[in-house]
């Protein structure tokens, strides 16, 4: 729906691609919000830490969340039937959104951190966290390509201290 005040902001990725977005979508990022408030946003806002590929995903996320917030009826709290249904739908969308490969996921984490988008950061971190649950140490190392720099004695000592966790 066209709105009367749809100011546009231009975001420039690290690889020099321009993205035009509604200001309200850009404001999901606290970092961008501060830049706008400080008057640095007359031309394009440069985001040297975010590639075009990642930036377009971030924008997709922010757009969806802004859209859903806008269509929520004024009196719907999280405990009304309508409110819960809307939240469930958004949750499902978020779940699909983070089904990306590891490289893209970590890029999203770093972007969400740099752009200070709290909900996206929580979502992406939880997605990585879910990959840690119910695994052995070897499985964690394998999944994330972590090099073991413990000596066998050091490793054994830590295991012993945390025996309950390894049962």
């Amino acid at each position: 729906m066209a709105e009367t005040s749809s100011k546009k902001i231009i975001l420039k990725s690290s690889d020099n691609e321009d993205f035009e977005v509604d200001e309200i979508v850009a404001l999901e990022s606290q970092t961008i919000k501060h830049m706008i408030e400080d008057g640095c946003a007359d031309n394009a806002i440069p985001l040297p830490n975010v590639t075009a590929k990642t930036l377009s995903k971030v924008i997709e996320y922010c757009k969806k969340h802004v859209d859903v917030a806008a269509t929520k009826p004024a009196d719907a709290s999280t405990s009304t039937a309508a409110g819960v249904a809307g939240d469930d739908e958004l949750k499902k969308w978020d779940e699909e959104f983070v089904k990306v490969d590891q490289t893209a996921l970590f890029d999203l984490i770093l972007a969400a951190n740099y752009l200070d988008i709290k909900s996206l950061l929580e979502l992406t971190c939880q997605s990585v966290a879910d990959g840690i649950k119910n695994k052995t140490v070897e499985e964690v190392r394998k999944t994330f390509n972590i090099t073991n720099d413990f000596t066998p004695e050091e490793e054994e000592a830590v295991r012993k201290e945390n025996q309950w966790a390894f049962e």
């Binding site: 779940e95 951190n113 971190c125 999944t143 390894f166």
Partner: protein, 481 residues
């Protein structure tokens, strides 16, 4: 999600800034974080800065009598928790969760009797000083927002009162057999940010404790209580901010006293669930826009009139609700001559559930409700339809009801918006079939009738009978399972 972590050949995790690794490790149970932290020295170093600690040894039941190795396991759990708390360097802690000691519900039911199954002996033992040190740990760090304790010990001591003066707390969940004496005797509570309060299993030593707590929580949105009340004779809950109230009253019903009073003043409540076995005088402020209400009551004492007024009061207070469940012996209690004059109209009611099993003459009550629910869309009988008559065994109810005013003039108009009917525990009795016949005749907009048979009933045969019944709706499908 595991499946999304497709093959990648560099260690992106370790190269994240420390605080992000910490955030990730803080999003899993501490047990998993400990395992992951063993993968490298870098991961190990971030383990000390976790901002969420989640220790959960459940659902182990410690029946130490039968399982000596579980006692050893608890020692390992104790060592683990002690070590992690000792090593924790994070000045900031946002969430603290601690769970051990098995399921107390079995013990609680037999409050005044020793259960032959799990009893006190089954819970682990921990020195009071050690346990208090664990519980107080989150209070010693900055900014804790959520504390969730599920603690059942063999010899319960007293819950540290500091939990109730923690100003940053937003969520407090307690499921414990520790005692509330020290909390009860606090001169004041300081919980200005508390939004969610959950109290399970705890014994409430004084009736005014909960009321006092609630009035000290100006932002409280959710109160969930499934506790044992030492008295439970005069309970007041007053909160303009409360959105959700789950109240399961457990008290010794030998305390049969006519002065019992339940006072609920929560005008903005959206979700109300009430479970009780005592008829009490209640004063309930009308809720402006409740979404869902469930009344699960049995009246163990009081005259039929007292019980009736008690339940009717609750029904009146939630009459603006969208989804109403009347369970246990609500229908039996409401089957009282004054119902016709007193029952309000349910202008917003879309979904109605009835438990008919404790009432033999539930028909009248059901129909009085249907008459007053003009926009009803879903009607459910989750516990089946009671086929037993006591007073009029030879009368088919639909004749009894539908051949007298005002039913006759309302024929085919009783449920103009009814779209869905669900009947469970179906046994193919005459009374059930008559109910279905009546509903089919009176629901011109019906889209689906779902019938779920009891195990020993053949769905195909049941379906045949039901499909022969005349239907006012041309678009209705009948499914029998």
């Amino acid at each position: 999600m595991d499946s999304s972590l497709k093959k990648c050949h560099t260690d992106r995790l370790s190269s994240l800034p420390d605080e992000l690794i910490c955030q990730i490790l803080s999003s899993v149970p501490t047990k998993d974080a400990a395992i992951a932290s063993l993968s490298s020295k870098k991961m190990r170093s971030t383990f000390m800065y976790l901002t969420t600690l989640d220790f959960d040894d459940s659902p182990i039941s410690y029946c130490a009598r039968n399982n000596p190795q579980l006692t050893e396991r608890f020692q390992n759990f104790k060592t683990f928790v002690d070590n992690v708390l000792h090593e924790s360097q994070s000045p900031h802690l946002s969430k603290f969760r601690l769970g051990f000691g098995g399921d107390l519900k079995i013990w609680l039911f037999h409050h005044h009797h020793w259960s032959r199954e799990c009893g006190k002996h089954c819970f682990p033992d921990l020195e009071a000083t050690e346990l208090n040190a664990w519980i107080s740990f989150p209070l010693s760090r900055c900014g804790v927002r959520e504390i969730d304790l599920r603690i059942h010990v063999g010899v319960p001591g007293k819950l540290p009162p500091g939990l109730f003066t923690c100003e940053t707390l937003e969520v407090l969940k307690l499921d414990t057999n520790l005692e509330l004496e020290l909390v009860s005797s606090l001169p004041s509570f300081r919980l200005p940010n508390l939004k969610v309060l959950q109290l399970h299993s705890i014994i409430i030593p004084e009736d005014d404790l909960v009321g006092r707590l609630v009035s000290n929580c100006p932002l409280l949105e959710e109160l969930d209580m499934d506790c044992w009340w030492e008295y439970g004779k005069s309970v007041t809950i007053s909160s303009p901010s409360l959105q959700k109230l789950v109240l399961s009253m457990n008290r010794d019903y030998q305390y049969d006293s006519p002065g019992d009073l339940l006072n609920i003043d929560t005008p903005n409540l959206k979700y109300f669930e009430y479970e009780d076995i005592l008829a009490v005088h209640n004063s309930v402020t009308s809720m402006k826009a409740p979404v869902q209400a469930s009344l699960n009551v049995y009246c163990d004492s009081g005259t039929p009139e007292e019980c009736f007024r008690s339940i009717l009061n609750l029904v009146k207070a939630v009459c603006n609700v969208q989804h109403l469940s009347l369970l246990f012996s609500c229908l039996e209690v409401l089957d009282y001559e004054d119902l016709i004059n007193q029952l309000p109209t349910f202008h917003n009611l879309k979904h109605l559930e009835f438990d008919t099993n404790f009432s033999s003459e539930w028909d009248t009550v059901v129909f009085e409700f249907l008459m007053r629910s003009p926009i009803l869309e879903v009607l459910e009988f989750p516990e089946g339809i009671n086929a037993w008559h006591v007073i009029r065994p030879d009368r088919e109810y639909h004749r009894m009801i539908s051949e007298s005013e005002p039913w006759v003039s309302r024929k085919n108009q009783l449920c103009p918006n009814l779209k869905r009917i669900v009947i469970k525990q179906y046994r193919r009795t005459k009374r059930e079939v008559e109910l279905v016949r009546f509903l089919l005749e009176n629901a011109p907009a019906l889209e689906e009738l779902l019938v779920i048979c009891k195990d020993d009933v053949d769905p195909a045969v049941a379906e045949k009978t039901l499909k022969k019944l005349p239907m006012a709706s041309s678009t209705c499908s009948i499914k029998v399972q």
